[in-house]
């Protein structure tokens, strides 16, 4: 049975949907589009009409949110807890201060010097989500950025929704490099090409791995970069300093039980820097780490 493939763009990234039976693409793609649109409306910090923007504007008070946003914030807080704050949703103000204050397509590639202050972000422990009432409490001065986890969560949710719509077979959803698979995999698994950027074209010479379940996510400092006063900046903020991470790894890919966990681990590894190898091996997370010079290290079961 030929694979069915459908491409597009969503959440400012490339979107690819692949199904094991091309006849089921008509059911899968609308389900994916619906979920991604819902996540965008709930979690975007660049849309004035998004729920997240409303929560950020309401900092200092409690805000009632949808089940989806409550889940996304809960997922982000879980990411922070499991990484001891290396992946922290309260980096919103720090990302803005570094110059990433509008949709990335509108961020000038170069510009005048800006003042950057080394200061830890406010911290995820100050954010609360009351499950019973779906009320989010955000202290004044804190701004949430769910970018690190919301896209991966969208991939997981979209793949699950697509599989439910299809009723049979298997599906892969790749959203900006965050890859989630659900259902029955093709006989040889889902083949995923590794790259610094999710915008890279498919390349027969590139490293390719195979998964049958869960997900793969990649975080990289080589994308979403800009320059201010001659200094290169990027979008992955180290919550301990409030500045772009400066570790030795430029790109980290992780395979995990789902795309969200893979994304959490990949981002944490970029922020953690030198200690990332031990951190990932301790958690038995297969990973591929690329250093600034292009050297590749594969650990915890990642194929050589």
């Amino acid at each position: 049975m030929p694979l069915g493939v459908s491409d597009g763009r969503a959440l400012g990234s490339v979107l690819r949907v692949v199904v094991t039976d091309d006849r089921l693409l008509g059911e899968a793609r609308p389900a994916v589009d619906r979920v991604v649109a819902e996540v965008d409306l709930a979690c975007s910090r660049f849309r004035d009409d998004s729920e997240l923007s409303r929560v950020n504007r309401g900092a200092g008070t409690e805000t009632e949110v949808s089940a989806l946003l409550a889940r996304a914030i809960t997922a982000a807080l879980r990411a922070a807890r499991l990484t001891d704050g290396l992946v922290d949703p309260t980096v919103g103000s720090a990302v803005k201060s570094a110059g990433y204050d509008v949709d990335f397509a509108e961020v000038p590639a170069d510009g005048a010097p800006i003042a950057l202050t080394v200061r830890a972000v406010p911290g995820w422990r100050r954010v609360t989500v009351l499950d019973a009432t779906r009320r989010v409490s955000l202290p004044a001065g804190i701004e949430l950025d769910l970018g690190s986890t919301a896209k991966a969560l969208a991939s997981d949710l979209a793949a699950a929704a697509a599989l439910e719509a299809m009723g049979d077979g298997g599906v892969l959803v790749g959203l900006g490099g965050d890859v989630a698979v659900r259902g029955a995999a093709p006989r040889e698994g889902w083949h995923v090409q590794m790259a610094d950027s999710s915008e890279a074209p498919l390349d027969p010479a590139a490293e390719t791995v195979s998964i049958r379940s869960g997900g793969i996510a990649t975080s990289s400092t080589t994308v979403r970069r800009w320059r201010r006063g001659g200094v290169e900046l990027h979008h992955i903020i180290d919550p301990r300093t409030g500045l772009p991470a400066t570790g030795p790894w430029r790109t980290v890919s992780v395979c995990a039980g789902d795309c969200l966990d893979a994304n959490i681990a990949a981002t944490a590894a970029i922020v953690l820097g030198d200690s990332a190898v031990d951190w990932l091996e301790t958690r038995r997370l297969p990973a591929r780490l690329v250093d600034r010079d292009g050297g590749v290290r594969r650990i915890a079961g990642w194929p050589e």
Binding site: R125, L130, H191, S197, L260
Partner: protein
């Protein structure tokens, strides 16, 4: 005569008080043993499971919208879930995983 009766009554009272103390102590000891035994039995047969508090950083997912109800197991897990990856065939990739 009256003195003998008073002595007898006092002795009876002392015996009665001593008996009451013994009964009270025995009842208390039996009660403690019974509570401990019942506690042990309850723990052994209904151990239960710890749950997170409802507030603050709860790990329970909310549900409601159609997409939110599509559960991802790791969203609620207390640790990062591991995955399995193997070598793929170069040239057969269907998707790229990279930064975005």
């Amino acid at each position: 005569m009256n003195g003998t009766k008073r002595t007898t009554a006092a002795a009876d009272r002392d015996r009665a008080l001593a008996l009451r103390r013994r009964l009270t102590s025995s009842a208390a000891a039996c009660g403690l043993v019974a509570v401990a035994a019942l506690g042990f039995l309850a723990e052994a047969t209904h151990a239960g499971k710890a749950t997170a508090a409802a507030a603050t950083t709860s790990t329970s997912p909310s549900t409601g919208s159609s997409s939110a109800s599509q559960s991802s197991s790791a969203t609620t897990s207390g640790s990062l879930s591991s995955g399995a990856v193997s070598s793929g065939n170069s040239g057969s990739a269907t998707v790229v995983s990279g930064g975005s």
